[in-house]
Amino acid sequence: MNERQTSKEPRSGGDREGLLNRREALKAGAVGAVGAIGVLSGYTAARAAVDDKSAGQVRYAMVIDLRKCIGCHACSVACKSENNVPLGVWRTWVKQVERGGFPSTQRHFLPRLCNHCQEPACVEACPTRSAYQRDDGVVLVREERCIGCKLCMAACPYDARFFHPEKKIVNKCTFCVHRVDKGVVPSCVNTCQGNARIFGDLNDPDSDVAKLVARESVQVLKPELGTEPRVFYIGADTGTMGRVRKEI
């Protein structure tokens, strides 16, 4: 009873002022909330636009079948000469790990390259949108726009990017788009001794990569980071995929 009365007709001017202040505070809060929602929905829309990678069209991917890899490094060499990659930096390489002691030893191979991630961390971080993703999923650098800030290098959790010592911009594996766009497979795939590297359109159910991904149990590097790599491994040694400790 008392409560209703006070809320209907404030007893003193001071109270009314308090009421007004509260109302104003509420209003300000509401305006703030609406503003925040506006900003957030703008962000979500922008993200959705970025995320909308039209389904039903070509999506290039690679499968690396480690049951067939012999660790010959021919892929690394082919890439170097195909793409004029300078000394000291690599677009693709073959990580090798040795385990055990004589006579029970193992050696594991893990060919590495840019994963042409579906959710590329590098593209997210680039302040000039020089790092970008084509509709077919290939992640590239706009060389004429890149300022060489190296933030994409820092953002990539796979060490796939490097600073090009001559061009003074960031450089990386391009999935050999200059070849792929003309209907030829990437140089590393072309040269692979054991046919361990397989390249193709993941969205085409009849392609070799799509069939392998559908049939075999495939692995990707650091799936927990949400980058959704599109380089798949078959039969990779988990110890070699992670950061290697001295003992396991």
Binding site: A46, K95, I147, L151, A155, D159, R243
Partner: protein, 287 residues
């Protein structure tokens, strides 16, 4: 079973010394601005002298930092691309505008104070403070966005960067406070003690969460707690930069010499911390 990497490629660091200096200097600028603005708004006539010196120091500290950032680019002449293109998802893209606006505001603020028109600078003090806080936070956010590096990808990194920016900015103002009102200096040192205390709590929390982590986070803890990085982080940042200044600030009476010592310690500590987080953060290999 023993295990060795027989062959692997680890590419060079993405962020080097120039980025460390940029983070340090922009933090000094933001911290000095905040100190100046606080003294102008709440310091009364006693704080006017300190406010003026802090206001003038802010852009002088900020601009060399921005030059370092430009020199770090592979293509410094293309820096304007940062303004021509915008990426909503990139913290750096937002940061460029934050720091541009903050630089403009701090130059204006300094000029008004220099011209003796401190009264007219009051609205700028409010507005600039918002941007100064944003600039202090954003460098940590920038690191946070890089999910591959455990030392960077922690929610505590942005607040640690902000708080240490404020502490180091205050330290610069303390260095410049010679001959100002003793009451104002006492206020400044008290506030500095509080900020250092907060910094200490944040730093200890970060260390403890790292120590109790596993995998790559655990390795990151090894990096900052042992070897050269450990010396810098524990010795220079935690002890020399936080604990000792805090103890010195607790003394009731202190002379000019003590204040200068405190300020230098805080500055060395902040620089060491930035170095360890940025460079040491990249010391745990990605594969």
């Amino acid at each position: 079973m023993p295990q060795v990497i027989f062959y692997d490629v680890n590419h060079h660091e993405a962020m080097g010394l120039l980025v460390v200096i940029y983070f340090f200097m922009s933090g000094l600028g933001a911290g000095a601005f905040l100190t100046g603005a606080a003294f102008q708004l709440f310091g009364g006539p006693n704080g006017a002298k300190i406010a003026k010196r802090a206001a003038i120091a802010a852009p002088i500290l900020l601009i060399p930092g921005l030059l370092c950032l430009m020199l770090d680019l592979g293509q410094p002449m293309r820096f304007f691309n940062l303004m021509l293109y915008f990426n909503v998802q990139s913290i750096a893209s937002w940061g460029v505008w934050l720091i541009n606006i903050f630089m403009g505001l701090s130059v204006l603020f300094a000029l008004l104070h220099f011209a003796g028109k401190a009264k007219a600078a009051r609205p700028l003090a409010y507005l600039g403070s918002v941007f100064a806080i944003a600039v202090g936070l954003y460098s940590g956010m920038l690191l946070y966005q890089m999910r591959g590096y455990e030392l960077w990808h922690s929610a505590l990194v942005p607040p640690i960067f902000l708080v240490s920016a404020i502490a180091s900015g205050m330290a610069v103002v303390l260095l410049l406070s010679r001959g100002s009102d003793p009451q104002a200096i006492r206020t400044l040192t008290r506030a500095l003690a509080v900020v250092i205390g907060v910094d200490l709590v944040l730093a200890l929390t970060e260390i403890l969460t790292l120590v109790w982590s596993h995998g790559a986070k655990g390795e990151a803890a090894d990096v900052i707690l042992s070897g050269g990085f450990g010396f810098m982080f524990i010795g220079l940042y935690l002890i020399l930069g936080l604990v000792l200044p805090l103890l010195l600030l607790m003394r009731r009476q202190a002379g000019r010499g003590v204040y200068v010592t405190i300020a230098v310690m805080v500055l060395v500590g902040t620089l060491a911390m930035r170095f360890v987080i940025v460079i040491g953060g990249q010391a745990v290999p990605l594969s």
